[in-house]
């Protein structure tokens, strides 16, 4: 092949990746400011669900830290929904709008675009989760003591990397299957509320079910965070150090798996002609 001597429009790959992350995260961050309806849909409505569980526990005379469990679960749901619908399923919408072709053609690559989505989504969702927790503290007198902030931040960070890695992995399915992959997301949404213990300590399901559910990073992240926030009373699934190690392993696993899967699915989609032609 001949080599072109024309000046390239391309920047250094690393710089271009960073620019792309910044560029794609922008609509996510600015969208929250321009469409304030999220305050109702992402905070007010989930709080109603949380409130229902709080009142159930109170009616049963459960210890006060159960209120904290529920509020933590409610805050974490925002991340799960963000990863499933606005990461994994996002390629369906991008394809529908005609963005996917432009993303595929851009020299920054799909991974940079997905990182941008993740970064933007993460900022917006962290804000939403913080507001849910603040509202929980204010409305339901949620009481907690963080035993170690470094550990708290480490669990939070590892959990996010693993979770968004999983989201990237699922997004590759949408490259190929488009709308059909919606069922996968729907299949995962509600059952995960149960098996990851969003509203109760996951250990209540039994250690083996809890271990199996730990494949989903949010299970270990949520349980670890609860161990740090309610150290004296929370029946942890595994020792905290094991949960940190498990989350780190999942973070590496899902990141690598996502990178491989994206490459594989992109090639397959180009072979099958599913990026542009068939839905």
């Amino acid at each position: 092949m001949t080599t072109s001597t024309m000046p390239l429009p391309a920047a250094a790959p690393l710089r271009r990746t960073w620019y792309a992350v910044k560029g794609r995260s922008y609509p996510r961050t600015v969208g929250g400011l321009r469409e304030p309806s999220w305050i109702f849909y992402d905070i007010a409505l989930p709080l109603l669900g949380v409130a229902a569980f709080v009142y159930v526990y109170r009616a049963l005379g459960a210890p006060p830290h159960f209120t904290g469990y529920v509020i933590m679960g409610g805050a974490t749901i925002a991340f799960w929904l963000n990863v499933m619908w606005l990461m994994a399923a996002q390629f369906y919408w991008e394809k529908h709008q005609g963005n996917l072709e432009l993303y595929m053609m851009a020299p920054c690559g799909l991974v940079a675009i997905l990182l941008g989505m993740a970064f933007g989504g993460l900022l917006a969702t962290t804000l939403r989760a913080a507001v849910v927790i603040a509202a929980g503290v204010f409305l339901f007198n949620m009481d907690f003591t963080v035993s170690s902030w470094p550990l708290f931040l480490l669990l939070f960070a590892l959990g996010l990397v693993a979770l968004y890695g999983l989201g990237m992995f699922f997004s590759s399915l949408f490259l190929l299957w488009g709308r059909e992959a919606w069922h996968t997301v729907q299949l995962l949404q509600e059952p995960v509320y149960l098996v990851s213990g969003f509203y109760f300590p996951v250990r209540a399901l039994g250690p083996w079910v809890g271990m199996a559910a730990s494949v989903i990073p949010i299970t270990l992240a949520l349980d670890g965070l609860r161990q740090v926030m309610f150290p004296a009373v929370h029946p942890g699934l595994l020792p905290l150090a094991w949960e940190v190690a498990g989350l780190a392993a999942l973070a590496v696993l899902f990141t690598l798996l996502a990178l491989w899967m994206l490459q594989f699915m992109e090639r397959l989609a180009k072979q099958e002609g599913r990026l542009s032609f068939r839905w």
Partner: protein, 336 residues
């Protein structure tokens, strides 16, 4: 610089389909059937063909969105299959009717976002965006949300999006489709300006508007059923159709069809359309002399001739001469 900005050799693309009523055999659909072409740098090359001819499939392969089933294609000297990254650093694409981006962003923000994907620093991106928006007449709308733009404005913005990365090779897939006359004219005008301001840059334009191809392109390839059946300058292609004479007649309404004219010696083809109480006939003749027979036959039917004009052949006639049917007929033959 490579000898060819775009080159394909015996390019084939088939699509597997499920068995259906329309395709009971379930045989693969052949979208491209051995396409070989070369486009030198600096050329505005048009691909002209009816719907389903294979234009978009070809462009998708060249912009690395689709793999060929067999054959080779290169862009700026780089193989589209094995060197997709190098190709992507040099190209851009704008499609007609495109609704890319996010409605909540302003025009300037949207264009900045896409510029980021090409690694353009923000100050440089803003400078390019503002300059291009001024050229296409959208500068005043730069702070308007994308969802508030008209179709024409949106397409101009898409054009700016395609140009902001200063591509070496630009792919335009039906860029004027769905635009009103004025917006279409503006888009065409800017394409010409961009080419003249950037010698050495190449455009591949697909269209099924003859006027776009005729006005813009240095060379045009006619693609039909996945094959390139001719490639030449617009003037050269029209020469193809100039083996005979071409007349347009406006007559009093002719009921019952114009088939009787086809039997007249020297008449190669007749197309008739009726509206507002009169019928327009497009007649292709072996030579000028044959028009006398047409006039006589119409007089015998008692149809008064309102207007008779000999016209120079257009690309439409070239298409008819090469394919044997008109563009719209080819579209209809493809079915819904």
């Amino acid at each position: 610089m490579p000898a060819h900005a775009i080159e394909t050799h015996d390019l084939v693309r088939t699509f597997r389909v499920r068995k259906s009523r329309q395709n009971p055999s379930g045989a693969p659909i052949v979208a491209l059937d051995g396409v070989t072409m070369q486009v030198p740098p600096g050329e505005l090359f048009g691909l002209l063909g009816p719907n389903g001819a294979g234009k978009t499939t070809l462009i998708k392969i060249l912009v690395t969105l689709l793999l060929p089933t067999s054959g080779r294609a290169s862009v700026d000297g780089y193989d589209v299959t094995t060197q997709a990254q190098q190709v992507r650093e040099r190209i851009s694409m704008v499609s007609g009717g495109e609704h890319s981006g996010y409605g909540l962003l302003t025009v300037r923000e949207q264009l900045w976002m896409f510029a980021q994907f090409y690694g353009i620093p923000t100050p440089e991106a803003h400078a390019r965006i503002d300059r291009l928006l001024q050229v296409v007449g959208l500068f005043e709308e730069r702070h308007r949300k994308v969802q508030e733009l008209s179709t024409g404005m949106r397409q101009k913005m898409n054009l700016v999006r395609g140009l902001v990365s200063e591509p070496q090779i630009l792919f335009l897939d039906e860029p004027t489709v769905g635009l009103d006359v004025e917006a279409g004219r503006d888009v065409r005008a800017y394409i010409k300006t961009w080419m003249s301001e950037h010698p050495g840059r190449t455009i591949l334009l697909t269209t099924h508007y003859m006027s776009d191809a005729e006005e813009l392109c240095d060379r045009v390839a006619i693609i039909h059923k996945g094959k390139i059946i001719a490639a030449d300058t617009p003037a050269g292609l029209k020469q193809t159709a100039q083996s005979g004479s071409y007349f347009v007649l406006s007559i009093e309404r002719l009921d019952g069809g114009a088939e009787f004219l086809s039997g007249i010696p020297g008449v190669a083809r007749v197309d008739a359309s009726s509206r507002d109480g009169h019928t327009e006939l497009h007649v292709t003749l072996a030579d000028d002399g044959a028009i006398a027979g047409v006039v006589t036959a119409l007089a015998q039917r008692g149809r008064r001739i309102l207007k008779l004009q000999k016209v120079e052949p257009t690309l439409e006639e070239a298409f008819v001469a090469l394919v044997g049917r008109r563009f719209e007929e080819a579209d209809e033959a493809r079915g819904p």
